[in-house]
Symmetry: D2
Subunit: 410 residues, 4 copies
């Protein structure tokens, strides 16, 4: 454990067994006042039971914080990330990574409000989430004390945890006594499952793992066609209906779930140095990502689009590694946001059994000008003869290289 | 037209009406000897009719070159590109782009063999292909004369082309008299369709455009599961059966076609400066791309994988723009190939109605070590307490920034 | 020549012989009204003679524009570029490149004011400047007609130019009759010399070429020490004296000249495809560049600094190639400027015989905290033991790779 | 201290007081056999005294390894790095960083030879060197035990160290009793000085700090002109005399020292998260870096050169951070080395009072072709009219953007 004295700690509290054990462990180990913070990021669980449980464990009412952060989550974290087309290792839409900075930020804000000197999270010592939480904490409150129970305590097995819970009168649901067959994280953007039965990357993920999407096979036999409206890079409507950020993502999640969209079986590289196999379900986000690229395809200039493409892996890595609150992420965001000023219009998509297919896009800012691409003559801006000079000068250095080869018999 | 004297020209000749017109136009305009080069890159057309047609148009037998380049195409162009996970503008697998350098290279080799001083292609003056052909020509034979009829002649309409053909006794198939509703390019990797009826990016592509894939809706209701074997970054077998590069891609194309895989409706940015809408079908390549990333996911180290990811857009842009035979493409290839030494193993995939889903991967070179990721204690290489120091030092600069903010009231 | 009808053209007019010939050529060839635009960008020539000469050549007074753009040049072009630490090919400070966009912008603005439909510049057909001018023109007025006499006319030699001048009563200074031994471009940031006698890169540049700096050997034997003040990335004072952008650069130029600073003998790669050898003198800019990096070294976070470093070559290439008015340059500028908010403070420099040596830097925003770096214990934010964990987790993937090697006998 | 049992440890042993204390501390703390490894990397100290001292401290003769690694150091570490033009944070030539991997590699090799299970270095717990050593160790021998005394022991002050030494009969030179005013590291490439009296970045470095170079002011009043010969990217001769890698760098060091070249006063960002101020002297390396860029300037194609420039900061960061033995460094090296095949020729330099000025370069592989750059007509590969088309197509997307602005009144 950390050797610092702690007076008051803000705990990221889900209301579940594990964070309840942490709550009690904080009280008994640090003898400190505990403030619980429970956030609705769209994980699909009711929050009020968390209040009851916290009270039961002796938390004062004024120390219980329960907040619905869904709109802030989508508006200020998910959407900026999608503007960048951020994808980690070619495929992962960063659903877990992007939720951590917001939780960290609110914990620190609550610490400031309540005069707490410490914060605590329930992430394990082998994963990325500990890094994401703690980089967030430190970036926002450099002198905060961070408590990471899973790295500190000597509860080494499920049995010991259960024993600790029993000893401290923490209620234990029946199905929580044994080991979970895998661990789950969820928010409005995605659900991830990993560990235990999922660890062998050679083995197909068993069907009961999925909680958020129908399988493509179960999805309807007829496609669903939708139109997503964008303004300045952000989705703002579905089929003409204006929606709030969280409302829109919720709707896309429903559409994605029904059409078997967004499952991903991945072996990824963790920031802490090992590989891990994850199973992700990102139904709405998968649709959103395809749609955003499509609206960009007609509204972004090539120079802007290619620069974004080259920097997107870097941006994604920063978020994956937990550097949301870093100058370099903010610099990249400034670059990305600068490009989105005209990313406005609509994209039509066909959703079908796991697939998201673009079938049309329109924009008042479209840079696609039919006159320029028709194969007939007539367009003023493009003269076929220009192409000859363009090619000649682009070829010049290659010709020079070839002449050198010839001259030197290389 | 170019103002150079031309004695002998090697024409990239498909045997179709357009290149037959070009052939005749070369003879009449330049008064030069024409060598025809017809390559099988897997476009799915018989080549022998091209020989007949060339003979009919007065080409001497020794000047008719017909070659099956499918193995070379896949082995030396497609596979190296897939090692790089090259994707243009986030989605396009570069099916047309990658075929041009090989055609250019063979044209130049035939020019050297036959003593020709010029080469000629049938690409239009508004597209990328003219650039790709000509950069290839110049890079390999810097003093070659390049003839690009579509930029040179004054045949301004379909009617004029047909009139020219009739005037020179070029046989015209009935269905070639009118305008084609769109233009098509095909090879073993893909089929592209663009122009005319496809030009409005707001309009869905009509179904008759697709020639290479079933639609997802028409594909079978049961998934197909396959296993692809890789060696040093290249696919070498399907379901345990060793296959040549072209054999393998052909097989993947069949699998892809049957399962509705690889259709892409795209608005892309051409090198020559305008946007264009293309409809691509890349059935086997789509499967291959997913599989290659999956085998890399367990055999490539994070540092290698992320460096590749950051450079892939650049590599893709080089190929799209026609710079295959450039020092920078070769440098990037050296970097990529260095990483592929251990990219060996098998990937299991489920193909279903347009989707390619990874369900397992195995490798003797796997870097995925289950002992390291299990959530229990015991693994020697990873100590939970290390994470604390790791995070602390990664956070140090962020804390310093935060302290500055605090100190200065920023 | 361009086949478009031209009514009125805005000519970038220096008042020298060459642009006077162009002026007359425009009148005689296009029969159009000519508007002259002469800008003071600090090239060190008086502008009023240009007015006289224009009048002499028949330009109406209201069509003669003479402007002092020095402040705008430094403030809106030079300084933003230095914020990015832009250096082309490792050494060139882009002195010529950065002046072109401003000239192009003013020409277009004058064209809009005067109702001109064309613009004209005097850059040759082999250099980069034609590209920079014309990309600027087109980016700001897409329908403008561009006249580039050196690419259009048939005046093929110095003799023909002189003959044309004589024929049209253009006054010819005696020393302009013969060929110049090399060509020169100058503005407040630099003077470049290239061509003719300078073309052989194996030959040392003869001393008479330099006009802007003493040679290091001639410079004083005692160093000059100065202090430059920065605010938000821009230099604002020298030795405590606040100066306007142009005033500051002028002062730095004097200091640089006197101390033999800023000469550069370079072989560079032109955008148009060939190599060229240039001789540059950038006295003040060389000092400014060193100073800017020094103030950044204590005020910029590592993440910000390294991201800038990785993007600086790209930014420099864009400016060199003429893409100042492009979305991607503006996006990069947004990224750079975001980082400069705290780049405020002072840098002390020793100037001595060609060298610029940083000897001190201070800032209220300094991130350099002596407590953190002393080799003794005590600093709270840094615990030696953290380093062990930091290293262990950074090493984890390398150890996994090594274990694989060992296991497989690789 | 590490909780592992250690039987035999290979210590990086300089023979100085600090590593002698470490030696004894290892014996007394771990009760293990100690193997000393003392390498000549050109630090300018005799090695035989280290043997005597090791024997005196009880090391068996067969456990004393003293090696001259200068040639290997320059050939296999310094030169590959200079091929990449690696510069950290715009200015630092990585003189300390590049020596660490070689020492780590030899320690591990000696560990394998002697059956040692541990290695030990004398780097402090706050610097980069601990990271560089240990990443090297782990990358080459994943199961090695690493001992870092400065992070482990409880000797907290100079007094305690001296007391420990006295207690264990370690001879103490008089000038080592007190604190050194700053710490020094040296090898054939450079000497660094940092810490203590140098820590305030606002204060000029006092003159007695420099050990490796004359000051520019003291350097001769007449320039020295030299010619460096390169083959495939590596320097091979000076003034026509072929030299071994270490011989050549030694000679350049002499030339640099005499001419006051290579001093650098820098605030840099350490990998461990803090800023530090260092004083570097890199006399020969500074000359070599300038010369290498100059020979590249005529032998490298633009595409190759710019790709290298964009990747150089990344490559430098990897070396600075200690990732020499990583896949990504090796991949970048493959890319760099691929480009160096034709980097052969000679560069003429003028060395003068701290400055390194290129005055000429020649190569049989030169891509600089005078015919192409002269301002007169005649060169076949370059037609002025091509420039018009080149510019037009490069401008096309900018014009489209401008048209959009106009149309929408943006």
């Amino acid at each position: 454990m950390t050797d610092k004295r702690v007076n008051k700690v803000v705990l990221a509290y889900s209301g579940g067994l594990d964070t309840s054990i942490i709550l009690k462990w904080l009280q008994t180990t640090y003898g400190c006042e505990v403030v619980t913070f429970t956030a609705d990021l769209g994980q699909g669980e009711e929050l009020e039971p968390a209040r009851k449980k916290a009270e039961l464990l002796g938390i004062k009412p004024q120390n219980i914080f329960i907040e619905d952060l869904r709109e802030e989550f989508v508006r200020d974290y998910v959407f900026p990330m999608f503007r960048a087309n951020a994808v980690y290792e070619g495929v992962y839409l960063l659903g877990t990574s992007i939720a951590r900075p917001l939780i960290a930020k609110r914990q620190i804000e609550i610490a400031e409000m309540t005069g707490a000197d410490a914060v605590c999270h329930g992430a394990t010592g082998k994963g990325n989430d500990q890094v994401r939480f703690e980089l967030g904490y430190y970036a926002l409150k450099p002198d905060v004390t961070v408590i990471a129970p899973w790295r500190e305590w000597d509860l080494r097995s499920r049995e010991q945890l259960i024993a600790f819970a029993e000893q401290h009168q923490i209620p234990i649901a029946k199905d929580k006594r044994g080991e979970a067959p895998f661990s789950v994280d969820a928010n409005l953007l995605h659900t991830s499952s990993e560990g235990k039965v999922l660890e062998d990357p050679a083995q197909e993920v068993p069907d009961y793992v999925f909680s958020r999407t129908l399988s493509p096979e179960e999805a309807p036999d007829t496609p669903t066609v939708i139109t997503i409206g964008f303004e300045r890079g952000d989705a703002v409507s579905i089929d003409g209906e204006a929606l709030s950020p969280a409302g829109l993502l919720t709707k896309l999640n429903d559409l994605g779930r029904d059409n078997g969209i967004g499952r991903l079986d991945l072996v990824e590289n963790r920031f802490v140095g090992m590989k891990s196999r994850g199973m992700y379900e990102t139904p709405g986000g998968t649709i959103l990502g395809v749609a955003h690229r499509a609206i960009e395809s007609i509204t972004l200039d090539r120079g802007a689009a290619h620069l974004k493409d080259e920097l997107a892996p870097r941006y994604a890595e920063l978020i994956y590694n937990g550097f949301w609150f870093s100058p370099e992420r903010e610099m990249l965001q400034a670059l990305v946001d600068k490009s989105q000023e005209t990313v406005t219009g609509t994209v039509r998509l066909k959703l079908y059994k796991g697939g998201v297919h673009v079938i049309g896009r329109e924009s008042p800012y479209s840079l696609y000008d039919q006159d320029l691409v028709t194969f007939e003559e007539g367009a003023v801006a493009y003269d076929h003869r220009d192409a000859a000079g363009f090619i000649k000068l682009n070829a010049l250095r290659l010709r020079t290289l070839a002449q050198r080869k010839k001259k030197l018999g290389m």
